[in-house]
Amino acid sequence: MHDGVIIWMSLFGIFATLFFGIAAVVSVKGLDDVRDLLFTNNDGKENE
C-alpha cells in the first residue's frame, strides 16, 4: 500500500470530523439564531 494513502486518509479523517462536528454544533445553535432573526427587532426585543 502506498504511504500517501495513509497520510491523506488520516488528513481526510481529521477534516471530515471537523466538518461534521461544526455542522452538529451549528445545527443546534442555529435554531436560536433563526428565532432571533424572525421574532426579535433590532433592539433585541420580541416583535409584537
Binding site: 477534516f15 471530515a16 445545527s27 445553535k29 436560536d32 432573526l37 426579535t40 433590532n42
Partner: protein, 497 residues
C-alpha cells in the same frame, strides 16, 4: 431507475417544505435592507450555516468528485488551501471587517464611496457578467448529476433543471435574503446529514488497499503528490491560494453573509469558523470520486463516475435523503447567487445610471425582475454551452474575471492612500481581459499561434489576471496622481451600521 417510492416521498416532501418555509418568511421583508441583507441581524451560527450552504452546491460535488476521480489524493490540496485562505480572511478581517463597518450592501458600493460612481458602474457590470457566467453551468451540471444518481439518464436533465429553477425562484424572488437565509439553514442541516450517511456507506464499500491500488495504477505518483500532478504543480497552488483569498473576501454571494452579519466581529467569526470546514467541504466529495475510481476503474465519464457510484451503493430511502440533500445544496447556492447578482445589477449599475437613483420600492421590484431573467438565462445557457475544461477550471476562471480586478481595487482602496479612480478602472479592466480571452481563445486552441498559446493554459491565465490587475492599480494610480488626485473616504457619506 434507482429511485424507489420511498425516495420519491422523501424528495417531494422536502421540496414542498422548502417552498412553504421560503414563502412564509417573506412577510419579514420590510425594506431594501431587509431584502438584500436580512436587516443585518444574522448571528454566528446562522451565518455559518448560510455561508456554508451557499458555497456548497451540487455543482461543488460534481467538480470536486470529478477532481477526485481524475487526480486522486493530490486534489485534496485544494481543500487545504481553501481552509488556509478563508480562516486567514476571517481571523484578520481582511477587507470584510471594513466593508461591514462601512455598512456596505454590495462590493461595488464601496467603489463609489472610495473612488466615484463610474468605477462603481464598471465594477458592478464586470461583477454581474462574471458572476452570471460563473453560475451558468451550475444548473446543467446539477441536472446531469441528479439524473445519474436517480438513474434516469440524460433525457431527464432538462426537466430536473427546470424543476429546481421554479422552486428556487419562487421564494428567492419574493422573500430575498430572509428567505435565502432561513431556507439555507434548513438545507444545511439536511445536507450535512446526507453527506455523513453517504460517506459512511462509501467507506463501507471500498477499503484502503483498493484505493491505493486504483490511484497507483491509474495515476501513478501524480495521484498522491500535487506537485508532480500535471494538472496542478506550483503555479496552480499559488493561483488557487491567491484566488481563494480574493474569493473569500470579495465573492459577493459569500461576502454578502458578512455584510448581513449583526456586527463586524460576528462577520469575522462567521468567516473563520466556516473556513475550518472548507477542507472537509472539498475532501468529502473528492473522496467519493476516488472511491468511484476504485469501484469502476478509469473508463467512465469523469463527471458521471461519482454520481453513478452513489446510485449503486446507497440503499432505498437513503438515496432519497441524499437527493434531498443535493437539491438542498443546489437551491441554497442558486438562491444566494441569484440574489447577489441581481442586487449588484440593480443597485450598482441600473440605479447608479438613473439620475437620482430609484426608490427603495422600485429597487426591490427591479431586483426581482432581474432575478427572473437570470433564471431564464441559466436554463438556456446551461442547455447550450459546452464546457471546454473540467468544470472546476471553468468556474475558477470565470470567478477570476471579477475577483482579480476586485482584489486590487478594494485592497488598494482600503489600505493605500494613493489609489485613485484611474488605477481602479485599470485594475478592473485588466483583471477581466485575460479570463475573457481564455474563454474565447480556448475554443480555437488548436489553431492559435504559439505566442498566444499561454492564454489557453488556465493556471497561467488565472495568475496573469491578478498580476495585471495589481499592476494596473499601482501604475494607473502613480502615473495620474496629479491629474486625478486620490479621493479619501468622506466620513459623512458612511452610514455605520
Amino acid at each position: 431507475m434507482n429511485f424507489s417510492p420511498l425516495d420519491w416521498v422523501i424528495m417531494i416532501g422536502y421540496l414542498s417544505t422548502t417552498i412553504y418555509i421560503g414563502l412564509w418568511v417573506r412577510k419579514y421583508v420590510e425594506n431594501l435592507q431587509g431584502y438584500i441583507v436580512a436587516g443585518r441581524k444574522i448571528k454566528v451560527s446562522l451565518g455559518i450555516a448560510t455561508f456554508t450552504a451557499t458555497e456548497l452546491g451540487t455543482v461543488t460535488f460534481v467538480y470536486f468528485g470529478e477532481l477526485g476521480y481524475v487526480a486522486g489524493f493530490s486534489a485534496f490540496i485544494i481543500g487545504i488551501l481553501a481552509l488556509i485562505s478563508y480562516t486567514f480572511v476571517g481571523k484578520t478581517g481582511f477587507i470584510i471587517e471594513k466593508l461591514r463597518e462601512y455598512g456596505m450592501m454590495t462590493i461595488p458600493e464601496f467603489y463609489q464611496l472610495r473612488f466615484n460612481k463610474k468605477v462603481r458602474i464598471l465594477g458592478g457590470s464586470i461583477l454581474f457578467i462574471g458572476g452570471v457566467l460563473n453560475m451558468g453551468i451550475f444548473l446543467k451540471f446539477d441536472g446531469i448529476f441528479l439524473s445519474e444518481v436517480m438513474g434516469f439518464g440524460p433525457q431527464a436533465v432538462g426537466f430536473i433543471m427546470a424543476l429546481m429553477l421554479v422552486v428556487v425562484m419562487s421564494y428567492t424572488i419574493l422573500g430575498g435574503m430572509f428567505s435565502v437565509v432561513v431556507t439555507d439553514f434548513m438545507q444545511y442541516v439536511v445536507l450535512s446529514i446526507a453527506m455523513l450517511i453517504t460517506t459512511i456507506f462509501v467507506l463501507l464499500e471500498v477499503d484502503l488497499t483498493q484505493l491505493s491500488t486504483a490511484v497507483t495504477s491509474n495515476l501513478g505518483e501524480g495521484g498522491f503528490n500535487p506537485i508532480e500532478n500535471t494538472r496542478f504543480g506550483w503555479s496552480f497552488i499559488v493561483w488557487i491560494l491567491v484566488t481563494n483569498v480574493a474569493a473569500a473576501a470579495l465573492w459577493q454571494p459569500g461576502t454578502s453573509k458578512a455584510l448581513s452579519a449583526k456586527s463586524p466581529a460576528v462577520a469575522k467569526k462567521i468567516f473563520w469558523v466556516t473556513g475550518l470546514t472548507f477542507a472537509g467541504r472539498a475532501m468529502i466529495p473528492m473522496f467519493w470520486g476516488i472511491a468511484a475510481l476504485a469501484y469502476f476503474g478509469a473508463g467512465e465519464s469523469t463527471t458521471s463516475a461519482m454520481p453513478m457510484l452513489l446510485g449503486e451503493v446507497l440503499p432505498v430511502g437513503f438515496l432519497g435523503l441524499l437527493v434531498a440533500g443535493l437539491l438542498a445544496a443546489s437551491m441554497s447556492t442558486y438562491s444566494s447567487y441569484v440574489l447577489a447578482w441581481s442586487s449588484v445589477l440593480t443597485l450598482d449599475v441600473l440605479s447608479s445610471l438613473k439620475k437620482g437613483g430609484y426608490s427603495e420600492r422600485k429597487k426591490i421590484l427591479i431586483t426581482r425582475v432581474v432575478s427572473g431573467f437570470i433564471g431564464l438565462f441559466l436554463l438556456v445557457f446551461g442547455l447550450w454551452y459546452e464546457i471546454p475544461e473540467t468544470a472546476f477550471q471553468y468556474i475558477f476562471i470565470t470567478g477570476t474575471m471579477y475577483t482579480a480586478g476586485a482584489l486590487g481595487t478594494v485592497t488598494a482602496g482600503l489600505y493605500w492612500k494613493k489609489a485613485n479612480d484611474i488605477g481602479a478602472n485599470a485594475a478592473l479592466i485588466l483583471g477581466a481581459i485575460v479570463p475573457a480571452g481564455f474563454l474565447i481563445l480556448e475554443n480555437f486552441s488548436e489553431t492559435l499561434p504559439n505566442w498566444l498559446a499561454f492564454f489557453t493554459n488556465v493556471n497561467i491565465a488565472g495568475m496573469l489576471s491578478f498580476v495585471l490587475a495589481a499592476l494596473g492599480m499601482i501604475l494607473g494610480s502613480l502615473l495620474t496622481q496629479k491629474s486625478n488626485p486620490a479621493k479619501l473616504i468622506n466620513e459623512s457619506e458612511v452610514h455605520y451600521a
